[in-house]
Symmetry: C2
Subunit: 295 residues, 2 copies
């Protein structure tokens, strides 16, 4: 479709009807041109995730920072594939590259470590970070086959039509890579994360585990190992005495193992769609505050 810019802003309804703001518009062909024409202060980047290379989101964010705009994204790709480049570019331009919505919706994970846990060393973490697989496993537990549970999750709007991204563990692995790269300071490539999805599990597997006092969950793990970090995403049978077993539906949980706090956990129960949008709003407030404070 291309890009339309107006530094005075666009009235969407009037624009669609071909009114005054359509006449004022400038059609541009690339994000950098668009950013200059629109004189944007902030770019909200929310294209869909390309897990393989993080594009076109990386180009959009690079262009925004080059044009002197803050870049806020809900897209894991730029964090997984270009965190160092984009944060260095942001620092050089005196702008912010923020991405709180990429993990656990908008729950402040990255900003908690950045702002409120000074000097703390993160040794590792474990958690449940993908909703779609958690909903599917829950359906299998109460009697559905894998296919039936997937279909139900799609009807509920939790799972996408092509859910392989979630089912094969790519979404969870991208979140692990983002957390390891940013919070543990060790850039990790997606291929380095041991990854097994839930596609091989049958309803019988899941129900037998439940009957034996355990629950199948797609568990994310990361642990320092010398200068490296070992990370994995795979189905595990979690005993009912572990709070992770009780994380159901679209809820999520993460346990941080740090030097000061050996078990610091954050749980998000039943988030709404606005939680992801909120993460971008909170990033926006941070960016504006940094402008005001001149930092």
């Amino acid at each position: 479709m291309g890009w339309v810019a107006d530094a005075g802003g666009l009235d969407v309804e009037e624009f669609v009807e071909g009114g005054e703001s359509q006449k004022r518009r400038t059609r541009v062909s690339a994000p950098d041109e668009w950013l200059r024409e629109a004189r944007a202060d902030v770019l909200f980047e929310a294209t869909s995730l390309s897990v393989a290379d993080g594009q076109p989101a990386i180009d959009h964010i690079r262009a925004a920072l080059e044009c002197g705009a803050h870049a806020i994204t809900a897209n894991k790709g730029p964090v997984v594939h270009a965190y160092r480049e984009l944060s260095q570019l942001a620092a050089a331009k005196g702008k912010k590259f923020l991405f709180e919505s990429t993990v656990m919706d908008g729950v402040p994970i990255f900003s908690l470590f950045r702002d409120n846990l000074p000097t703390v060393e993160l040794r590792g973490f474990r958690g449940i970070l993908n909703s779609t697989t958690n909903v599917i496993l829950g359906g299998m537990e109460v009697g559905l086959s894998f296919e039936e549970s997937l279909k139900k999750a799609q009807q509920m709007g939790v799972a996408e039509t092509d859910s392989s991204h979630d089912i094969d563990g790519w979404d969870a692995a991208a979140k692990v890579a983002a957390l390891v790269t940013v919070l543990m300071g060790v850039p990790v490539r997606l291929e380095e994360i041991e990854r097994e999805g839930i596609g091989r599990l049958t309803g019988e597997n899941v129900r037998a585990s439940r009957a034996a006092g355990q629950r199948y969950k797609l568990i994310c793990r990361a642990q320092r190992d010398g200068a490296r970090v070992r990370a994995s995403v795979r189905p595990e049978q979690v005993p009912l005495s572990d709070p992770m077993a009780w994380v159901e539906g679209t809820s999520s949980i993460i346990y941080f193992d740090t030097d000061v706090f050996p078990g610091l956990a954050i749980t998000e129960n039943n988030p709404g769609l606005e939680a992801t949008a909120y993460g971008m709003l909170a990033d926006f407030v941070k960016a504006v505050e940094s402008d005001v404070a001149g930092r």
Copy 2:
């Protein structure tokens, strides 16, 4: 014992031995005089809690702020009894009044809301915030009487010789009052918090509950009710399907009910003594950063 000040700092070992730094010392009689002589930049206030009136901690903090020093405390009293006065004084002096260590050791609860959850409204919370009672209830569950379990907790160094402050729910109530006052913006007096301790429970009560699939926990609750906040501290029987039931020993948990995140929980597992000290260190870093940034 009184106060000893030296703007050049005191070498503790040499001081105790009556060396050079003892000769340089100035003996002063009150905190404000001491703060001026020492030319302190920061006061770490860690006197023991007087739940009734918050003294002498309030006087110390007031004196520090008046002298242009940041005031950092691990003492709930000043937050419960003088939050508004002390924060206004700090703002007027361009200094910080910080108290992260008062609730859940040094886990960043106050700073999470202050720095990273802009525009979010806290509607209420529930949690387990007192370690001593949790350890005692755990001992009763596995066969001890109340008195035996208390004695064991005292031998472990978890409970104090006079543990009535914890057992009667005063410590938990002070934490609730601090959270409600600061995070919900509604000053609440300790007497307004419905409070029942664990002293009436017998080992039989606790074990019967466990056998019936529940666990007694001293639960803190707060909920908005119009312009007011209703708050309570009392023993409740928590079903095993609730993650609160699995918070054992010196661990703690808090669930926040907010407009954006209906169930945001933070759990601290098995903190060490250094966790409380860490909270004061993190506050110190915040205070120094604010000096550097001129905020």
